[in-house]
């Protein structure tokens, strides 16, 4: 099992803030909108340095999505910022009609996704956003795993013409991705080559998948670990190649089982390479208040859950 080290834990939302600031300096067409959550989205630095390209929208997310769609007309690249809950479910029809169906070059940047929002509870812990967004034609869906990858993804999506949903979160997680690693939309990142089981993880679950890989190695199980930062378009080729070798698969994500990464992988394999599959995801349930670690434990998204799922998958080969 390959060793991954990190010098510090950082929040992925700060990776977004850092990427946005860099974009401000390198791409004059980038504009940013925020619905009264500048601090939470780490958009302060962009606002300070580029006040003329920053739009405070207030608590009016539907308007924010429409504004962003309109701002593209004339060549701007709008990045909207609010919590994942208010970036998706609250404004689904605005995104569907004014952005996705209209093919607008809007980047919907969503923080505080999933259970790791913690104490605020289920009203804010959206676990359905990936499903909603991946169903929309034309929409690209990205869920990076750490600070560096979120920063790189933020910068990369400005060069892609079309609507993108970029999902990130609040907790500090190990920042292990190399700072200079190029972010390629739709291209899986191989973290560990193995032979016994493929673990496909996204977002905050990627580090847990690495931890699970070590635990499995202690048990003599050689896991292949893939970081799928782009859920749509899915890197079919990388998944099929890996699963063709290991013959069983585990998916891991901070999202509902229905509609998430696991669903996409199951659909791919069902069509092209039927394989035993286990999902580490929230099982048709809302979250609740608690610390992020307590919640990940209670809702079955821990390192040990991935280990157990891998063993189940292997036993079904």
């Amino acid at each position: 099992m390959k060793e991954y080290t990190y010098s510090e834990k950082k929040d992925t939302r700060s990776g977004f803030g850092a990427g946005l600031l860099e974009l401000g300096r390198t791409n004059e067409n980038v504009v940013a909108l925020c619905a009264d959550l500048i601090g939470s989205l780490k958009m302060d630095a962009f606002k300070k340095e580029f006040p003329e390209r920053f739009y405070q929208v207030g608590i009016a997310e539907a308007n924010m999505m429409g504004l962003a769609a309109g701002m593209t007309i004339g060549g701007k690249i709008p990045f909207t910022g609010t919590f994942a809950n208010f970036s998706t479910g609250r404004v689904y029809d605005q995104i569907r009609q004014s952005i996705a169906y209209s093919g607008k070059n809007v980047k919907i940047c969503a923080s505080h996704a999933g259970l790791t929002l913690g104490e605020d509870g289920a009203t804010h812990q959206i676990l359905e956003d990936v499903g909603m967004m991946k169903m929309l034609p034309h929409m690209v869906v990205i869920n990076p795993c750490d600070f560096n990858q979120t920063k790189a993804a933020t910068i990369a999506i400005a060069d892609y013409e079309g609507p993108v949903y970029l999902r990130f979160g609040r907790p500090a997680v190990p920042n292990f991705t190399p700072a200079d690693q190029k972010f390629e939309i739709g291209k899986a990142v191989m973290l560990n080559e193995g032979t016994d089981v493929t673990i496909i993880a996204t977002g905050h679950l990627v580090w847990k998948a690495i931890e699970a890989g070590h635990k499995l190695a202690e048990k003599g199980i050689n896991a292949e670990i893939i970081n799928i930062h782009t859920i749509k378009p899915l890197d079919d080729e990388a998944i099929l190649k890996s699963v063709g070798k290991t013959k069983c698969v585990v998916t891991a994500e901070e999202h509902q089982m229905h509609g998430g990464l696991g669903d996409s992988v199951a659909q791919l394999l069902g069509r092209q390479l039927p394989t035993p599959l286990e999902m580490v995801a929230v099982n048709d349930s809302f979250g609740e208040s608690g610390t992020p670690d307590q919640l990940m434990e209670k809702y079955g998204l821990s390192t040990d859950n991935i280990v157990a799922a891998a063993e189940r998958a292997i036993s079904r080969k």
């Binding site: 429409g66 504004l67 004014s98």
Partner: protein, 297 residues
């Protein structure tokens, strides 16, 4: 470099028609509307007929634009957005007759493989349309965003948007109204088609809109009123609206129209909001919409 190019070729209205000419064009557009909805036995003639004179005024006199080649970014052009997308027949007819695409294409309205979708869309690449609409309440936000980009780009042209009055029930409209005033988006001329009708009946019965002038003024807008079915007063009102831009406030025209205007049995009733005429009704409508030289598609 870009700004220099803009200055070198100032875009004006490509038609600049007289009122008499616009009356003939409006009659032809109304003929198109009833024939289009009749042909597919669906679509929305009422609001389309009511707003015909407004569309003809914008595209044949008031707005500065270039129909071909169509430029999605609209740099150096006035932009128009239709928020109440269901009145697509009037927009399609006016776009075709203003030169965005062939008039013959109107025959494909609402048919399979057409660029003329039931509600306006960009997906099929119909020139003249910059955003999809149909699900109500979204157009004002889009127009405000486009107006803000014009300001960033130092493009002095204007942005127009039309909304239905029933559509004002959507909360997003008021979010956008508050935002536009707060941010002094004064290169925007919004218009509400005040025909007092919506699908289920009168607007004041379904969900009373009340004093819209007072409401928009309270939101910080510069408000004008106009008769939308009379070129002699509508054109000066549109000029007044232009003069009101650039003064720190978004501009709103409350435009009184009669749903179904031009066809007597369709006028003033919500019943023709989304119903097509039958063969006999079409003939009667076309007789009432006589033009000196009809050029039906």
């Amino acid at each position: 470099m870009k700004n220099q190019q803009l200055n070198n070729s100032i875009i004006v209205n490509p038609h600049n028609k007289s009122i008499d000419e616009m009356k003939q064009i409006a009659a032809q557009v109304r003929r198109d509307i009833v024939r289009m909805v009749h042909a597919v036995n669906s679509g929305h003639p009422g609001g389309s007929l009511g707003c015909t004179d407004y569309f003809v005024s914008l595209y044949f006199r008031v707005m500065n634009y270039k129909p071909q080649p169509f430029n999605m970014d609209g740099e150096g052009e006035d932009l128009f957005f239709l928020s109440n997308g269901h009145i697509s027949p009037v927009w399609y007819s006016v776009l075709a007759r203003a030169g965005f695409f062939e008039v013959s294409e109107l025959a494909t309205f609402r048919k399979i493989n057409s660029r003329l979708q039931g509600h306006p869309a960009t997906e099929e690449g119909l020139p003249g349309i910059r955003v999809a609409s149909g699900s109500l309440g979204q157009g004002l936000s889009v127009a405000v965003g486009a107006a803000q980009t014009k300001k960033l780009n130092k493009d002095n042209n204007l942005v127009y948007v039309l909304m239905g009055d029933g559509e004002l029930g959507e909360g997003q409209v008021w979010e956008a109204a508050m935002y536009a005033a707060h941010n002094k988006v004064d290169n925007l001329i919004a218009t509400v088609d005040r025909n007092y009708q919506q699908i289920d009946g009168g607007t004041e019965e379904v969900l009373a809109l009340g004093d819209l002038r007072a409401k928009f003024e309270a939101f910080g807008w510069h408000v004008l009123e106009a008769d939308g079915n009379n070129f002699e007063t509508l054109l000066p009102a549109l000029e007044d609206a232009k003069k009101a831009t650039g003064n720190g406030k978004p501009v709103m025209i409350l435009m009184n129209t009669e749903m179904g205007f031009g066809v007597d049995f369709m006028m003033g009733s919500h019943k023709w909001h989304g119903v097509a005429p039958n063969d006999e009704q079409l003939e009667i409508a076309l007789q009432q919409l006589a033009v000196e030289q009809a050029s039906d598609y």
